[in-house]
């Protein structure tokens, strides 16, 4: 074995306990939303980013903040508004007096964190969106002539409000493709909401402890890429993505090869979280929805008929099975 095998082996053997502890700890603060939390962890493990679409008040910020605390990561939040400037995100040079003289010092912006929550990203101007999305892709920030590398791990969770579209700048398709997953947060059930009310109407606010160190998280990210996948399953994943480009009955634009990479990586991460040392068909099928949802654009006819993305992806998964 050509890596620091001992550390990775140790992390691998403990991975099942680690994930169980993470979910238990997050569960102390967040009620329900298990699938959404799993998908956020998958995005982090794949070194990807996630786009959350949910109505207000469903605990997006709380969830991300809790995850960052449990994973011992630095968390920053950016509230996007139309007047937000790129330098408000990336940082800027400030003049500082030192030893009687004045010099420029770089003041890092909120993007210099491990987990960044870009709230209502579609309210920011396209210029600011581009600055953020560039740093997401390159994992570095260039200000003036200097390039600053962002700390690892780096994970951006951007949110969009699906009900208020006025005064927004919807993300272009090319930029949506940079998000590994699109996560939907649903309203809690009666029992879950009852539990939420019970927890947050007391004097003691639930809190969480640190479960993982930053280095362990980086090791888990390495392990995810090592999860074995059979050739057959790889073909299945690629066929699903290719089918989005072939299906002209419902789809205007299909997913790019970046989706194939994302789907296989996400399936690997899901397998590891579920204590499996191989990628199962269940992983590929499950991850196809969050990976493809924001990468497919339905044609006018489908939208007119009220066909949903889930319905189209269902059909694609079934069709890709028999290819």
């Amino acid at each position: 074995m050509n890596r620091n095998t001992k550390d990775l082996s140790d992390t691998y053997w403990r991975s099942s306990d680690i994930f169980r502890s993470i979910f238990d700890e997050i569960g102390k603060v967040i009620v329900g939303q298990h699938e959404a939390i799993t998908q956020m962890l998958i995005a982090i493990l794949c070194e990807g980013h996630a786009l959350i679409e949910s109505n207000p008040g469903l605990g997006k910020t709380l969830t991300v903040n809790t995850i960052s605390q449990v994973l011992d990561l630095k968390f920053n939040r950016i509230q996007c508004t139309p007047d937000l400037m790129p330098s408000d995100i990336t940082g800027t040079y400030v003049v500082e007096e030192r030893g009687g003289g004045k010099e420029f010092r770089f003041e890092p912006g909120p993007v210099f964190a491990n987990i960044v929550l870009a709230d209502e990203i579609n309210r920011a101007s396209p210029k600011t969106q581009s600055a953020l999305l560039e740093s997401m892709q390159e994992k570095q920030v260039t200000v003036g002539n200097e390039t600053y590398r962002l700390d690892k791990p780096f994970f951006v969770l951007a949110t969009q409000n699906p009900i208020e579209m006025e005064g927004t700048f919807p993300l272009p398709e090319a930029q949506l493709d940079r998000f590994l997953l699109k996560i939907n947060l649903d309203y809690p059930s009666f029992e879950e909401e009852d539990e939420i009310v019970e927890r947050y109407t007391r004097n003691v606010v639930p809190s969480v402890g640190r479960i993982l160190t930053r280095n362990k998280l980086l090791e888990l990210q390495t392990l995810v890429r090592d999860v074995p996948i059979s050739g057959e399953m790889k073909k299945r994943a690629i066929n699903i993505v290719i089918q989005t480009r072939k299906d002209t009955e419902f789809i205007e634009f299909g997913a790019s090869p970046r989706a194939s990479i994302g789907l296989i990586l996400a399936a690997k991460a899901r397998a590891l979280i579920n204590d499996r040392n191989f990628v199962s068909e269940e992983d590929v099928v499950n991850m196809a929805y969050p990976v493809l949802k924001h990468r497919i654009i339905l044609n006018f006819e489908s939208q007119r008929k009220g066909i949903t993305l889930e319905h189209v992806i269902d059909g694609i998964i079934k069709h890709a099975k028999i290819l």
Binding site: M1, N2, L223, D226, I229, L272
Partner: protein, 289 residues
Amino acid sequence: MYDDIGNISRALHRYRFYYKLADFITLTLLLYALSYYFNVGSLFPEYIEYYIVDAISLDEVLVMALSILVSAVLVIILYLTKPVIDTIGVIESRYEWMQERFKAAYDTRNEDNVVAADLRNQVTFKLKDVDVSSFLNRRHLLTRIMVSFVLAILVTGLLTTQIHVDITPEDITALMDELGGKLPESTLLSRDNQTNSPGEGLDEETYGETSIASIEGENVELLIIPGVGTSVTIRHAGHDDEVQFVPSQTYPVDVVSSDAADESYQLLQQLSIPDKDLIREYAIRQSQQ
């Protein structure tokens, strides 16, 4: 892992060879039994006089060789259509735990990391529990053996008793001609199990159950064979019309005898009415063939 897969793969190929052999033996015996019974050896009359050993003539050897050849070709075709043995797939289908794991472990056999190594170790360990003999389809094999046994007894019986049908290609042609000639008559004259003895069934009117036929087309030629009647009733929905029969130009009703047959015609005229009818019926049958 590779040794185990190799062993299982060899066993699976061996089992397939057993199935092929069993199918081949069964098919050869069946073909030989049929060939012997239907006297296929008569196709090689020129070899009957040649003997290889005391009691075996060359035509019998040829029949046996033909049976072997045909069954070999059939078995080859049968097994060519079957998929190539996928050892991993076969094991995965039998052992639920192996599903997806085995393929993933095998496809990543060259990867050098802790997760792939762990999966390989698990699969290798579980492979020890794989019972190779469980892949042998005993029912398939046993059925073939039993059928072969029965056929072997049958062939021995046929050879001992020398029972076979002395049928020649000419007999088969004649039989087919006969069958082909009877069919129209049976539909026209022998409805409802009414039998025709010589002289019967040649009344002026066609008899039998009324049946409704639907005929479509622009120019439909209605032909009544001479001697079976003079008219045909066409029923349209709601009313009956009797249409007089108009003789066809192609098949004139009148009997035109040749000069050469004139003498025979004179003889025919002297025959009694039943005999005339019998001859007429024969002529009708011949005209229908």
